[in-house]
Amino acid sequence: MPGSEYILEMNGITKIFPGVKALDNVHFNLKAGEIHALVGENGAGKSTFIKTLTGVHQPDGGEIILNGEKVVMTDPITAQERGIAAIYQHAASYPDLSVAENIFIGHEFKIGPFIDWPKMNREAKKLLDSIDANLSPTASVGSLTVGQQQLVEIAKALSMNAKILIMDEPTASLSQREAEDLYTIARRLRDQGVGIILISHRFEDIFGLADRVTVFRDAQYIGTWKLEEVDQPFLVHHMVGREITQLFPKKETVVGEELLKLEHLTRTGFYRDINMTVRSGEIVGLTGLVGAGRTEVMESVFGVTKPDSGRIIFRGEEVKDQTPTQMMARGLGMLPENRQKEGLLLAWSINHNISLSVLNKCQDGIFINRGKEYELSNKMKELLAIKAPNTDTHTGALSGGNQQKVVVAKQLAAEPQVIILDEPTKGVDVGSKAAIYEIMSDLASQGLGILMISSELPEVINMSDRIYVMSEGKVTKEFTDTKSLTQDDILHAAMPQSK
């Protein structure tokens, strides 16, 4: 089809995995110089779709037409050679190698069999400058922030003359500021004629960047629209397949006694002089840029690391030499940010995951009582509406949202008084987000104190009763009135003062 306006057309793509149809006759097309968002809930098939384009998976049906020519992507290298590049949420490919090495990996400049280092570093610098990335080509990639690592990945894509750039959840691990920078670069690349496929759960990304949007749901193609034709509720409706009436179901609660109090808590190099309180019935938001020290403070409270000085007062008692075991026994729960690595045993069933933190409650003497164990996990599954055939289902087979619910269930099983949620909706689709917010509201109304670490400003503003903002290891602002707060107010407090 010469003269087609599309540089990429994917028609009727079907992909079957053992036991599941991951893609069912889906379509997608891309013009040069456009940003086309691909959205859908977790499990809708976006990732599989991208993998059929990048040659990781071979489709079982359908055709890929690249620049009017039907192609078969036999492997990722073929896709690369045809100008398709991808950057992912967790960017770093080779953290121990330098920036230049990462950019030119696989197509290094050589003199005979030897690498031409001066030229490689020079060319790397040129590419980095072209996207305004002020990075040293010789720095090791592992030492960079996630945002900077993504710039390296973009430079790598450019080094291969990518005509199609896939961005998979590029802003999920970025602070607002870094995300803005990424937007600018994406727009510039678009204006230079690169076609960008953007996958994101964040509506800010989609509405801020994309020209068109395609929705997948349950492995099916739902539709493609121009961005000016749609609004957020419309997209949500098509992604979820039902109306979500209220994304932030905040209940009025009675704020009670102080449960957690931090006084001058300091850990050198991570955070300093932190004063915070969490009261019963309260949802406290803790936000700031990635790297501001939010998680580090809470890890010390939970007993993962030790603070150098300051006091932690939990339910009226000062705690010292705390460990996670001890803090959980005192009534503190923590939902770690990385739920797949720190939250769940993916190879284990829902039942075994939930009971792990409260095995002593499921035991007769030293022996596990399976009846009690199932009773507990079934109760939790029902309480949190975890979608699975039964509690014997492996957590690895669940969607991100349901996995998160299992992690919450695990914490709730221990009957905590205070629960720390670190990025509870990260990588969770919109339907499950609403469900998690509802759970939070319910818990607060039952008198729990909730501390939510989050970079998602809409959820911070809409769910929190009070908000702490951290920047460079310090609390820079506390907002006690969240009603009239805007994202700009928070961003202002979150920006490093030195800049």
Partner: protein, 361 residues
């Protein structure tokens, strides 16, 4: 019905089938050799195999300890060296207190045995401390280092000498090596002792909360830690127990080696301990394995060694080779089976889709 089905799919069932097939092959060989006149009487029959299991169950105690370590996703290759050092300690202590007297001293033997078990546990404690303290180092490397350390220490204590004790008190250790006569059967004493311990380990690992936590650590130690489990404490004690079990193994070895102690008495035996646990379904990835499977594996190794050694006159080295082959196959076969099953499922789906598409058109 569901239970029967899941048993038929289980690894233990596969091991039982493997064992049965081996026995069948050896039985047939046995019969055909008699028919051919190569031997007069049958060799491969239950009572004879059982009797000959003696040397193969010596390291079974080490296997028990290794199960804990593998279930946590770690590995301990120093267990052989721990056994040696424990035994050398036993010999040196006994020699120091009782000397080479005619009758020996039961009190000295008791002290020496305690010292042996204590040293084994302390060696395990050192491993446990290093593994939990230096998390950035692989347990393989740590225990490689401690292995060399323990071996060196053994040589430091007795050099290249062989300590031999002729007094009846010390010789009583060899009773651990005798055969129990039950009915018409002769059972190596190590087998009932092992079975008793295996039952304890079975209930511990598969039925108690603590056992569940051990497997949890092997599945995902970070998530287990965030679940409030004292990961380091459990790890430490598992290494201590592995060290203790090595010392126990060592005591059986002394009984086996005509009451003499050398500084290389158990070198390399950790390999058999690991092999039996791995064939039993444990893996260095952690989080899986069963005491029953490992027990069947010990029997399989015994049967293979006995069968190949007596019926086929394989030298010991060649027998080791076949153990290696079984081990490799045991890792490969399940993967192949899964591969084939997956391919079949995909083909089925494809056919269904093709049918649907045809119907649409």
């Amino acid at each position: 019905m569901q239970k029967v089905k899941s048993f038929l799919k289980s690894w233990e069932f596969f091991l039982i089938v493997l064992l049965a097939v081996m026995c069948l092959v050896f039985k047939i060989t046995d019969a055909s050799r008699i028919a051919a006149g190569a031997q007069k009487k049958p060799i491969f029959y239950f009572a004879n195999v059982l009797k000959s299991m003696r040397p193969y169950f010596l390291y079974s105690f080490m296997t028990l300890g290794m199960m804990l370590i593998l279930a946590m996703g770690d590995i301990d290759i120093s267990v052989g060296a721990i056994g040696t050092l424990s035994v050398v300690t036993l010999g040196v202590t006994y020699n120091r207190i009782a000397g080479q007297t005619e009758n020996g001293s039961p009190a000295a033997l008791a002290v020496a045995l305690l010292a042996c078990l204590l040293v084994g546990s302390l060696c395990g404690a050192l491993n446990g401390f290093l593994v939990t303290r230096f998390k950035e180092l692989f347990p393989m490397i740590i225990t490689l280092a401690t292995q060399l350390f323990f071996r060196g220490f053994s040589y430091l204590l007795i050099g290249g000498d062989t300590l031999t004790f002729k007094d009846p008190t010390f010789k009583s250790l060899s009773s651990l090596n005798q055969l129990l006569k039950v009915g018409g059967l002769q059972i190596p004493i190590s087998i009932p002792i092992y079975l008793a311990l295996a039952v304890v380990f079975y209930f511990w690992l598969h039925r108690t909360g603590n056992g569940r936590k051990i497997f949890a650590i092997g599945t995902n130690s970070a998530a287990t830690y965030y679940s409030g489990v004292r990961v380091d404490r459990i790890k430490f004690w598992c290494f201590v127990i592995a060290g203790f079990m090595s010392a126990v193994t060592g005591i059986f070895f002394v009984g086996n080696s005509s009451s003499s102690v050398k500084a290389d008495i158990m070198d390399g035996y950790h390999m058999y301990a690991i092999a039996a646990a791995v064939l039993g379904g444990f893996s260095t990835d952690g989080g899986k394995g069963s005491v029953i499977g490992a027990t069947i594996s010990l029997v399989i190794f015994g049967v293979v060694k006995f069968g190949l050694g007596t019926l086929f006159a394989f030298p010991d080295s060649a027998v080791n080779l076949s153990v290696g082959v079984i081990l490799i196959l045991s890792v490969l076969v399940p993967n192949l089976v899964e591969d084939i099953q997956n391919k079949r499922k995909v083909a089925q789906r494809r056919a269904e889709t093709a049918k649907l598409n045809a119907a649409k058109a």
